[in-house]
Symmetry: C2
Subunit: 213 residues, 2 copies
DNA sequence: GTTCTCGGTGTACAGACGTACACCGAAACT
DNA sequence: AGTTTCGGTGTACGTCTGTACACCGAGAAC
């Protein structure tokens, strides 16, 4: 059983990421020591440096990992083979797809999202910035998609961003709750219906909104 | 210059709270050591125990302190000597008052709110629970106030809570941004207008909402 | 005026921390 | 086949951690 060197390196790298994620549960990354992580992985402390130059860099890797799948998933939820006829039906379909994507995906990677929730505001400056950046990308992608809806002509660019911000914040708080639920079916169902109803309210209200008052 | 014993105790207690709040900037409470706090205050490490039995208990005290003024402030923003005539005007007035309360109060106690933002999800289990509890109180108080609006009759109890949840989450995210802005006037103004516009959108939409679809 | 209470002090210790350094052995390169 | 690369090891250090213990001195209680 010989193992190529890159394979082996990748394997322990993964082990470090997993160990950090596990040890992090219920405490911020900054409260984690290099030695704890190393012990959990089963390597000597100094070997950690072969993979990351600091706990902080490890955090950045975890942020990238967490967001990579989510963004493509959300974008996919908003693209249709045959888009619904009117704006109202389109909005409702988008909401349903997005919410469904969220409730199926987040519980599957809940440790990652608990990590994001914690580090978003409590992490080191660089980690916080990385999370903020990813969320801003999601927000902008959403705003562009909304702008493509025919009836959105009455909306100013500012109002589009403000609306997208409202929606992303709402989804974020639901994602956090889902992540904390640890996959409990009743909580997942409750969050799903709450999220759907909230987004319906906002978007149905938005349809009758006119930026020029 | 004699000082009564309770006065002196209260004074160092305050000094400990302030020191913790200051040392916390940019890092979670859990990453703080008892010795750091003691050094900042200018007392010997063991003297800390005369006031708090752990860093965690100190955290709970900070949570209480942070929320005490906010809740009464928000409630006050929703009570009128002479309430506006129609629902729409009432909603707009409530939004204006609440947003104004937020943007004047949060920057004045921004260190407390940065602390809350960090610890809400990254703190120890007991601190997290304390924050969650306070937010839930705010949410329920808001729901009861909305229910009193005459035109809210069409709203089911569930939908009221869902709406309140949406509003509080939006305000929370704006409070976080305000706290992080550190009082920079341009940011404060931008957040103020964003918040007002978002809440207008939601509440104006809500007026045409009917829980029975 | 004597005694008690209690916030704050100083010393002391065992353990965990980050990291520097020299080293090993097998995969990878030539 | 000989040499280089590099992930992982083991030791060793100075520093910081929480906390136990004995002690002090001034305000409070009697």
């Amino acid at each position: 059983m010989t193992e190529t060197r890159v394979e082996r390196k990748e394997r322990t790298r993964r082990a470090i990421l997993d160990a950090a994620l596990e040890l992090c549960e219920g405490q911020p990354l900054a409260a984690l020591s290099l030695r704890q992580v190393a012990k959990q992985v089963g390597i000597v402390p100094t070997a950690f440096y072969r993979h990351f130059e600091s706990i902080d860099q490890l955090g950045l890797a975890l942020v990238d990992e967490s967001f990579s799948s989510l963004r493509s998933l959300l974008k996919a939820a908003r693209t249709f083979d045959s888009p619904p006829a009117n704006d109202r039906a389109l909005f409702l379909a988008v909401v349903d797809n997005s919410v469904k994507a969220l409730v199926t995906h987040v519980p599957k990677a809940d440790r990652h999202y608990r990590f994001i929730a914690r580090e978003r505001l409590a992490g080191s400056a660089t980690v916080r910035e990385a999370v903020r950046h990813q969320l801003e990308l999601i927000e902008r992608e959403l705003a562009t998609d909304i702008a493509r809806v025919p009836g959105a002509g009455r909306w100013s660019g500012d109002d589009l961003l403000i609306l997208a911000n409202l929606l992303v914040n709402a989804m974020l708080s639901h994602a956090e709750e889902l992540a904390l639920a640890g996959g409990r079916a009743d909580v997942v169902r409750r969050v799903e219906s709450t999220a759907r109803r909230q987004l319906h309210m906002v978007l149905i209200g938005a349809l009758s909104w006119d930026s020029s008052r």
